[in-house]
Symmetry: C7
Subunit: 88 residues, 7 copies
């Protein structure tokens, strides 16, 4: 079984919803995970974010959909870690 | 359940109340948390602060209100970590 | 017995399959290993990746074949660690 | 209960009392704490110091008064950490 | 008794045998050791490698001979650690 | 009780006694301490040293006198740590 | 009792004996110690080395004599640590 245990995402979002709500909504997708968002740049309309997600089994599709539903766009997956557990 | 466990805030405040009282007032919002304030820049009227808050469950709204009540303004949330605990 | 326990690979790939699927497919080659892919550069047609693989006994030939099967090309092996276990 | 557990102070002092006595006098204000003073710059009349104080419950007013009593002046509090312990 | 426990070697080699076989062959000289090879530079004919070897008792002569047998040349020993164990 | 547990000293000394004897003589002043001397600059007549002393209770006056007795001069105390132990 | 527990030496030596033999010969002077030699620069006739020695009680005179006997010259002692053990 392969599981995603880390993602670093490059995300652009409008000012609303704010970064605190954005992080809370993304975090709601996992169990036993943590979402850390760093504000890289802010201009009049948008914010550039580095979103780092650590977890036991990250739901990438769910994360991607939530970013879109919150008005953000996922520019790139800058880092991903996939762990392999033995099948037993 | 999602809980905010880290905040880095970019804050501007007047010289009074001083940084020691400012930190003590912000710290009073949490239990089991720590507030670290670093003075980034000081000019005639104001001080730029980096406020770092670590805790088990940070009350972001309360922090934001207290900054305002002390005459400061919250420029941006530069970093946030949200942890997810299993619901059981 | 010698076993490969780390590889850092310089890989070029087209945009599809995306980096998440790419990592998952490479990870499926090992047991007890982890694959971390960092996006170094992206242009119109291709993505430059640094692929880091850690494991107890990495199947280099399998990794190389899978990269090719996914449309990628392995430019170089930038780092390799080989461990020696006693034969008993 | 909030308690100050770290202070970084920017202090200017005359050459006398020397840095060793200065540190010893500041340290006498706390229990279970440590005072580290780094000499940043020395000119003909004065010395610029970075004073770092770690402790369980730092007496900021006492520190401030002692600096003044020793002929020094506290330019700014460059870093402060306030810990919150549960009230029980 | 003195034993070599670390070597960093500056090695030049032709493209064949590849870096994976090269590392595996060097590793076969020791027991309980690890060989890490980093590719520093690659041109049309040759590859510059930094070869790091850690072990309990590294066979330097054997390593040197194997590098030669594989068509490589040892430019310099850039770092060496020799441990001394008491004779009892 | 306050005790000096660290000193970083900026010292100038003639070439004789050499740095090894100099360190050994300074170390003889304490118990359970360590003296580390780094040579910063050497010219025809003198050597600039950074002298770092760690100990449970460093005898600053003794250190200062020994530096003078060995022909050196103490330019400045660049760092000092004073620990406070509870009086019980 | 004072004992030398670390030395960093700046040494110049001819190409022969090579760095591996040089390190082995220096290491033979101590018990429970380690000698690490880094090659800093190599020209036609000589090699500049940084020799780091860690041990419980380093025999500085013996080290110095061996460097000379191997055709090297000790330019400077760049770092020395002397530990003080209580006499009991």
């Amino acid at each position: 079984m392969t599981k995603i245990t880390h993602l670093t995402l490059d995300v652009l979002k409008p000012h609303q919803p704010d970064i605190v709500e954005f992080a809370t909504r993304l975090a709601a997708h996992g169990t036993g995970s943590a979402v850390t968002i760093q504000l890289l740049e802010m201009d009049e309309q948008t914010e550039s974010l580095e979103v780092r997600i650590d977890g036991d089994d990250i739901d990438y599709e769910g994360i991607k959909n939530t970013i879109g539903a919150l008005g953000g766009s996922l520019h790139s997956v800058d880092c991903i870690t996939v762990d392999v557990k033995s099948k037993s």
